[in-house]
């Protein structure tokens, strides 16, 4: 048995520039483990320890995502081993294509107790892939999970929604997307990084994963989001003077 954690190797829009044609210039961005995914890996590690099983990582993307840097970044965070699923369909992936590739790759693990995922990927900010994956596997898919505990043969799951707190009981495998702060992920140390080099990583390529058929939305246009130009005028002087200026602007706008 194992616990699987899915993560994304992605660029952050915080490091991107939008061009006038609406495409993103990523030349100043570096791919990394998506911002919230270290939380998922750490939550997966805890669960695997509690269950006394392996923690296997899985990421999916076009062939280009596989690199020593990516492997180290993932394996140093507490995975026992790593699957890298590469597929040409992921050059232009939508969430369902990605979920299909992940589902095919997870078929390589004989028995999975749970698949853990992060809240949202840094680039898409949608939080959809784990839940579509759950649909494909026909397992329960739960997002907003803030805690997971082992209770006999079952899993106890806590979540905090917009207006209530829930405890749920799972009697079989499930896909669980954890909240942004479900656990605090430790920063990998030198020892973890060195150990990562010795952990197994397996590439699953298109030939092994099989074809993916999925409808696509066709892009017909694109533009930068209209962002008003703002002056960023610094209110100078002592605090009292800055406050006086701010208040006068607020009053001029008729807001006080």
């Amino acid at each position: 048995m194992s616990v699987a954690v899915i993560f994304k190797w992605a660029y952050s829009p915080a490091d991107a520039q939008v061009r006038s044609d609406g495409t993103l210039d990523l030349s100043r961005a570096k791919a990394a483990i998506s911002e919230y995914d270290p939380v998922a890996i750490a939550a997966g590690r805890q669960l695997a320890n509690d269950l006394g099983t392996d923690l296997v990582g899985l990421t999916a993307g076009p062939a280009g995502i596989d690199s020593p840097l990516m492997r180290k970044a993932a394996l140093s965070r507490g995975l026992d081993r790593l699957f890298v699923a590469t597929h040409s369909a992921l050059e232009q992936a939508n969430s369902t294509v990605t979920a299909n590739v992940l589902a095919a790759a997870l078929g390589r693990e004989p028995e999975i107790a749970a698949v853990i995922a992060g809240a949202e990927s840094v680039d898409d900010a949608a939080g959809q892939v784990p839940l579509t994956l759950a649909g494909l596997l026909d397992w329960p898919g739960l997002a907003g999970v803030s805690g997971i505990a082992v209770d006999g043969g079952a899993l106890e799951v806590y979540r905090t929604g917009a207006n209530r707190q829930e405890t749920l009981r799972l009697t079989g495998p499930a896909v669980l997307a954890v909240t942004t702060n479900a656990v605090s992920p430790p920063v990998p140390g030198m020892k973890d990084i060195l150990a990562a080099g010795k952990k197994p990583a397996t590439v699953l390529d298109e030939a092994e994963l099989g074809p993916v058929t999925c409808a696509q939305a066709v892009e017909v246009g694109r533009r930068p989001t209209a962002v008003p130009r703002r002056e960023g005028r610094v209110l100078d002087g002592e605090l009292a003077e800055a406050v006086r200026q701010a208040v006068s602007v607020i009053q001029e706008a008729g807001l006080a």
Binding site: P13, A14, V18, G22, N94, T96, A99, V122, D124, A125, A126, G127, Q128, L131, T132, A134, G135, P140, G141, L142, A143, R159, G161, A162, N163, R164, Q165, E166, T167, L168, R169, L170, T171, A177, T180, N181, C214, A215, A217, V218, E219, R222, P224, R230, G232, R233, V234, L235, L239, A242, V243, A246, V247, V249, I250, Q251, E252, A253, L255, A256
Partner: protein
């Protein structure tokens, strides 16, 4: 030309105002598929053409109906399936998309029927860009964020009870309501937003005083809602949260990452208070006050207090 049935999936969070608006834009009759309480189903009856209610037991989370709902979608082939981006809704939309073999498109802002296809606009890249896309009728699964205003009430639609199979692999063993006062930031005229520059929950009181002085709604960055839980989840602004368009957004002790500010572009005036002159918010605002919020906020509150008494403008 009409599209045939448009489904809107509704869970008990009821934040489906914008999803309903997008669904109505498709021109066909809108059917609400309510996976939740009968009360929620009844709330939808005046604003859609038809309500179908998937009643769930006390100990069953709505997610256990995901496969049943997907079966129904496969059997009835609605033109489009729309929902919000809440945790439960995403699980239901994901199951439907998995079954239909198409994507769930997120951050959708509008959709229309054009040349026999559904054409839609959505934001991508953390809000940096907008794309227009076309997707086949029958393959459109759309996630639309926000909106507690369900639209104008019309004739009360019939509510049909519907039975779908539900999985027994997950059970709800306990549930507790959280008492966060619901808020509609989208229509607020003045918003005061705080971030992690605020060090303790007790300090919310200080910012609330300022907000009250301005007649403003209080809002925050994501970590203060999801994580610190100092605010309800409907109070954070950004790509994953609320979109605001006030006359004034006062951004206090928040760095202004793209994911946050993309929810605030609609503000007429942004004033930022931050002790770091290099924080991204300082170049993405109209007025930047480089100051410790613990000094600036009380000073501003006091100054506004004096001002409001003698104000000639009286507010709009």
């Amino acid at each position: 030309m009409t599209t045939g049935q448009v489904w809107v999936i509704v869970t008990d969070d009821l934040i489906v105002g914008n999803a309903l608006a997008v669904a109505r834009g498709l021109g066909g009759p809108v059917t609400a598929l309510v996976v939740g309480s009968r009360q929620t189903a009844d709330r939808l009856a005046p604003v859609v053409s038809q309500v179908r209610h998937l009643a769930i037991d006390q100990d069953t989370p709505a997610e256990s109906c995901a496969a049943g709902l997907a079966d129904l979608a496969a059997a009835e082939a609605p033109a489009a399936v729309v929902g919000n981006a809440g945790a439960t809704s995403r699980a239901l939309l994901g199951a439907v998309a998995a079954r239909l073999g198409g994507p769930v498109l997120h951050h959708v802002t509008s959709a229309a029927l054009k040349d026999g296809q559904i054409s839609l606009v959505r934001t991508v890249g953390g809000g940096l860009a907008e794309v227009a896309e076309a997707v086949d009728v029958g393959q459109a699964v759309l996630a639309v964020r926000g909106g507690s205003d369900l639209g104008e009430a019309g004739a009360t639609a019939p509510v049909a009870e519907l039975a779908v199979t539900s999985s027994s692999a997950v059970r709800l063993t306990s549930a507790q309501s959280i008492n966060h006062q619901a808020v509609e930031l989208g229509s607020a005229k003045v918003v005061v937003g705080v971030g992690r520059g605020m060090k303790a929950q007790a300090d919310v009181a200080m910012v609330r005083d300022l907000a009250e002085r301005l007649g403003a709604e209080l809002a925050c960055s994501r970590p203060l809602a999801e994580g610190a839980e100092w605010f309800g989840h409907d109070r954070y602004i950004g790509v994953s949260g609320q979109t605001i368009a006030p006359d004034l957004y006062l951004a206090v002790g928040l760095s202004g990452q793209v994911q946050h500010l993309s929810g605030a572009h609609g503000a007429k005036l942004i004033i930022a208070i931050n002790n770091d002159p290099d924080a991204p918010v300082m170049t993405n605002c109209d007025l930047a006050m480089v100051a410790d919020l613990y000094q600036a906020v009380p000073a501003l509150t006091a100054a506004l207090g004096g001002a409001s008494g003698v104000s000639e403008s009286g507010g709009k």
